[in-house]
Symmetry: none
C-alpha cells in the first residue's frame, strides 16, 4: 500500500487526492467502529490511514466533519442506489420488500459502517436531529408512500396510519441490524428482511 512500483508512481500520486480522502474516511469508519467516536484520537485515524496527523486536516476541517462525511457519503450512496433500484417497481409489496432488502444488504455488507450508523451516529441528540432532518425523513417517506399507495389500491388496511406503519417497519429493520452487530454469531443479515416482512405485510394487509 505504501510501496509502489516506480513505473506506476505518477498515476498513483495523481489519484492520491481522492484516494487519500477515501482512505481517511475508511480508516475513520474502522476506528470509530472499534473504539467509538469520542474515544478515537485523530492520530488513530491518521495512523490507520497511513498518513501523518496533520494530513487529516488537509481533507477535513475537524474530527466532527469526518463523522459527518462518513454519514453523508453512505447516505448519498444509499439513496442514489435506492432510487435506481426502486424506479421500476410499482407494486407496493414488491417496493417494501426491495426497500427492506436494500436496507439490510447495504448495512450487512459493511460491518464497520453499520456500527457507525447504528451506534456512533446515535451518540448525541444533536447528530440524531441532523440525521433526522437530513436523509432519514426522506427515507421514511419512501416507506410511507409505498404504504399509502397500497391503501389507495385497496391492498392495505385503511385503519393504520401510513406514517406509523412506516416507522414500525423502519424500527424493525433497524433492530435487526443492531442485533446483528451486537451478536457474537456471524450470520447473514439480508434474510431477516423476509422474516420481518412476513409479519409486517400480513399486519397491514386488507382482509
Amino acid at each position: 500500500m505504501t510501496m509502489e512500483r516506480p513505473g506506476r508512481a505518477t498515476s498513483s500520486a495523481r489519484a492520491a487526492a481522492g484516494d487519500k480522502r477515501e482512505a481517511i474516511l475508511g480508516a475513520a469508519t474502522k476506528v470509530f467502529a472499534q473504539r467509538g467516536y469520542f474515544n478515537s484520537k485523530v492520530a488513530d485515524i491518521a495512523a490507520a490511514a497511513g498518513i501523518a496527523d496533520g494530513t487529516v486536516y488537509l481533507y477535513f476541517k475537524s474530527k466532527d466533519e469526518i463523522l459527518h462525511s462518513i454519514f453523508d457519503r453512505a447516505m448519498t450512496r444509499f439513496i442514489d442506489e435506492g432510487k435506481r433500484e426502486l424506479a421500476e417497481i410499482v407494486e407496493p409489496d414488491a417496493r417494501l420488500r426491495r426497500i427492506a432488502e436494500l436496507h439490510l444488504e447495504r448495512l450487512g455488507s459493511d460491518r464497520d459502517m453499520a456500527i457507525v450508523f447504528q451506534v456512533e451516529l446515535r451518540g448525541s441528540t444533536k447528530f440524531m436531529e441532523e440525521f433526522s432532518a437530513a436523509g432519514f425523513a426522506e427515507y421514511l417517506d419512501l416507506i410511507r408512500s409505498a404504504i399509502a399507495d397500497g391503501q389507495t389500491i385497496g391492498l392495505y388496511r385503511k385503519d393504520v396510519k401510513p406514517v406509523v406503519a412506516a416507522k414500525m417497519l423502519y424500527g424493525a429493520l433497524d433492530e435487526m441490524v443492531t442485533n446483528w452487530i451486537l451478536s457474537k454469531r456471524a450470520y447473514p443479515l439480508p434474510p431477516m428482511a423476509g422474516e420481518v416482512l412476513k409479519i409486517f405485510l400480513r399486519g397491514i394487509r386488507e382482509t
Copy 2:
C-alpha cells in the same frame, strides 16, 4: 447539616446517603440528556445535584459508573414493575399489549430518562453489549415467550420465529420512543402502543 447528634447519626446519615445518591443520579440523568454523556462534566452533575464535585466520588467510582447506575436503576424498576403487572396476565395478546403499554408509559413519563436510554446508552458498542447482556436479553425474552405461548395455543402463526417477532416488536416500540424524543411536537407516547399492536398482532395471528 454536617453535624448530627450521635444517636441519630447512623440512620439519618443512611437516609441522607440514599437521598444524595438519588440526587446525583437524577441530576446526571438531566445533564446527560441535555448535553450528552461525553459533553457532560462531572462538575455539571455536581452543580445540578447541589453538591461539591468531590462528593460525587463518595457515591460513585467514576463518571462511567454513574451512567451504568442510571441504567441499572431504571432497568430494575422497569423489570420489577413489569413482572408485577404481568403476573396475572396469561393471555398472549393481553400480555403483549401490557408490555407495549408499559414500555411506552415508562419512557414516555420521563423524557430525560428516555433520552438517556435512547441516545446516550447507545453511544458505545461497549455499553450496548453490556446492555444486551444485562436486562435487554431478559426483556426480549419476556416478549418472545409470550409469542411462543401464543403459538402453542394456536393463536399465533407457527411460521414466524418468536425471537424475530420479539425483536420486531421491540424495534417498533423503540422507534416510537426515538421519534417521540426527537419530535418538536409534544404528543403522548403511550397511545402509540395501540397503533403498533394493531399491525403487529394481526401480523402474527394465525388465520
Copy 3:
C-alpha cells in the same frame, strides 16, 4: 515554599489563593521577560510558579489574560501611587520632576516587569491599542495638564502644544527605560530623570 510547618499550615493555605495568583503573575513576568510572550509556554509559567499546569487556569482564563493582568496590576499600582505622590505637589516643575522620577523608579526597580512593559506589551498593535485606551491616555494627560498649568501661570512657553510636549517627555523617559533594559551595563535608572528634565524643562520654559 512547598513545605510548611504544621502549625502554620492552615493560615498558609488560607492565604494561598491570593498568594498563588501573585505567584503565577510573578512567574509569568519572569518567564515572559526571558523568553517573550509567544515563546513562553503555559507549562513554563506553571513550573516557574511551582504549580501544576492546570492550576494556572483556576486563576486565569487564558495565557492572554495573564499578560493583561500583569499590565493591569502594575498600571493600577503605578497610577494609585502616582496620584498619592502627586496630590500635594502643585508647582509644575516639581510635578513633572516627580512624574519622571516615579516613572523611572517604578520600572527601574523591577527589571523583568520593565522588560514586559517595554517589550512584550508592544509586540502587537492590538495590545498597544488597548494599552493606549487604558492607562496610557490617563498617564499622558497627567503630564499634559502639568504643562498646561505651567503655561497658564506663565512658567512655560505658550508656543508649544502641551500634548506634543507631553508625548515628547514620555517618549524620552520611555527610551531611557528601553536603553536601560538592553544595556549590558547595570546602572541605576532613576538618575536619568534629572538628565532628561535638565533639557526638557529648559526647552519648554518661558524666557
Copy 4:
C-alpha cells in the same frame, strides 16, 4: 513564466528573482503590520505575494529571516539616504533638523513599514538587542555627534551628556511615530519634527 529561452534565462531569472524577493518582503511587511509577526502565517505572506508557500523558502531560510530582511533592507536604505542627505550639512541645528525630518518622513511615508518597525520589531528582546547592535547604535551616534559638535562650537550647553540628549531626541521622535500609528485620525507625521525640535533645541542651547 517558468520556461525561458536559454539565452535570456539568466538575466531574466535574476531580475525575476530580485523582484520576487522584493515581492515577498513587501507582502510580509503588509501582513506583519496587519496581523503581527506571530499571528502571521508563512502561507499568508505567500498568498499576498502571489506565490506558492514553498517558494518563500527559495528566497528566505525562515520566517524569522524575513523579518530580519525587512529590517535590514529598510535600515540600509535609511542610513544610505541619511548619509547622502546629511553629507553637506554641517551646522548642528540644521543636521539635527534634517535627521528628525528624515526620520519622520521615512516612517510617515509607509505606514505598514512603520508598524513593523514600531511594533513587531520590538516584540522580542532578542530582536531588540540585535537591532540595538546593528543600525540603531550607528543611528544614535549620528545624533550624538551632531550634539557634541554643537557643544564644541559653543552652540549647545556643555552640562548635558550628548548620549543622553541623543536618546532623548530619538525617544521623542519614536513616540511621535508610535502615536501616529495608533491614532485613528490620519495626520501628516513630518510636521511633528518641527514641534519636537522647537523644544529640544531650546533645551540644549547654550544661553
